[in-house]
């Protein structure tokens, strides 16, 4: 049912944008942005339930929660950066979109730094000095 709603919303928005694009390009952009945000908001509940399931799984199996947190952060950063970059790209600003993607990549790499640090530290301690 949700799938039909999402597709219907997308189709209506697309037709509206096609009609309105010649007269008012700015409104077409606004419609596109609003539609994107609306679909994202529709999906938030489902995403929450998925994360809950993962959380319970991690707690039940006794895995360190920090791993799950890190991976969830990665997914979040990727999605948000993608979302913003797409909107900006739709508006025709490719350079800004690529900057947003760059920021996302850098933030993902920042998450990797502590892990790299621990691994390197371990290796250094294992090596005979």
């Amino acid at each position: 049912m949700e799938m039909i709603q999402v597709v219907g919303l997308g189709l209506i928005a697309t037709i509206l944008i096609l009609i309105i694009k010649e007269q008012k390009p700015i409104f077409a952009f606004l419609i596109a942005t609003t539609t994107g945000i609306t679909i994202f908001l529709m999906l938030i509940g489902k995403i929450g339930s998925i994360i809950d399931v993962l959380d319970n799984l991690a707690q039940a199996s006794g895995v360190q929660m920090i791993y799950l947190k890190t991976i969830l952060k990665i997914i979040g950063i990727a999605y948000i950066a993608e979302f913003g970059a797409q909107i900006v790209r739709d508006a025709g600003q490719d350079s800004i979109a690529s900057k947003i993607e760059l920021a996302g990549k850098v933030l993902i790499m920042v998450l990797a730094i502590p892990i790299i640090g621990i691994i390197i530290e371990t290796v250094m301690k294992l090596l005979p000095v």
Binding site: G62, I74, M109, I118, T122
Partner: protein, 272 residues
């Protein structure tokens, strides 16, 4: 062998998560970066026994490092982030101390209640459990101690939220037989009943509070059913024990200010 199982579980879970992330990724441009981080995590998991051997507390170090990095990113100044962290830690410590003191007070109150009940009713009580909750002075809502968030400790005052009395079955039966001497009991008393659902819990329905714990309501039906199935010999004893319980409830209400629906009896005598 246990650590091996835990290690394998961890690896399986992390690999599962990695596959999940791979599916969830929005587009290809992030793929290489995400793959790097996730593979580093898998490597860390594989190495975790070695890391534990070399220096303990991996997850702690990782956590502090991660939180420091994200906090410094989020907060405009690094100073604010650390202050917030310290404040948070302080709050956690305070909550823990409050919880500890509440538990201690609960134990003390329970001991006193037990002495009182025993001395006034000549009934030996196995154990009295008192759980305390904090109540805000402005709203009169009772909070369960596990769910209470305790936001402002200065305006809260501790109240008794639940009293569970474990009656010693043997003594209760003795008492009831002494009350009704012509009805001698020949029941085998199993004071250490293992099955929890067999325990006959008698609880009083709520009067003031609308939301009653399910655990305190549900057993009533089972006790009813049990009393229906119970032979008539037990009926009078049950009445006698009910009278004792009513007496105890009255005492507790009068002297401790406990609400009636907060008192719960766990009677181990008739558990079969």
């Amino acid at each position: 062998m246990v650590w091996l199982g835990g290690w394998l579980k961890e690896i399986i879970f992390v690999v599962l998560l990695a596959v999940f992330v791979d599916l969830l990724l929005p587009n290809r441009s992030f793929e290489r970066y995400v793959k790097l981080v996730v593979s580093l995590l898998i490597l860390l998991t594989l190495l975790s026994p070695v890391i534990k051997l070399v220096h303990g507390g991996t997850s702690k170090a990782l956590e502090t490092a991660l939180f420091q990095s994200t906090d410094s990113m989020l907060a405009s100044s690094a100073d604010g982030g650390s202050t917030q962290q310290i404040l948070k830690q302080g709050q956690e410590l305070q909550q823990k101390r409050e919880q500890d003191s509440l538990e201690w007070v609960g134990e003390e109150v329970a001991r006193e209640m037990k002495q009182q009940i025993e001395s006034q009713n000549q009934v030996s009580v196995d154990k009295v459990e008192v759980s305390l909750g904090l109540r805000k002075t402005d709203d009169k809502k009772l909070e369960h101690p596990l769910n209470s968030s305790m936001p402002q400790p200065t305006t809260d005052k501790p109240v008794i939220s639940k009293v569970v009395i474990y009656l010693n079955g043997a003594s209760l039966e003795q008492k009831s037989t002494s009350l009704e001497q012509n009805k001698a009991s020949s029941n085998s008393i199993d004071s250490k009943s293992d099955a929890k659902r067999n325990k006959e819990e008698i609880s009083v329905p709520a009067i003031k509070r609308v939301e009653v714990d399910v655990t305190s309501v549900a057993p009533v039906e089972s006790s009813k059913v049990e009393s229906e199935h119970a032979p008539t010999k037990q009926g009078s004893e049950q009445q006698a024990s009910e009278a004792i319980k009513d007496h105890i409830i009255e005492q507790l209400i009068n002297q401790w200010g406990v609400l009636q629906q907060q008192i719960q009896f766990v009677d181990e005598a008739h558990a079969k």
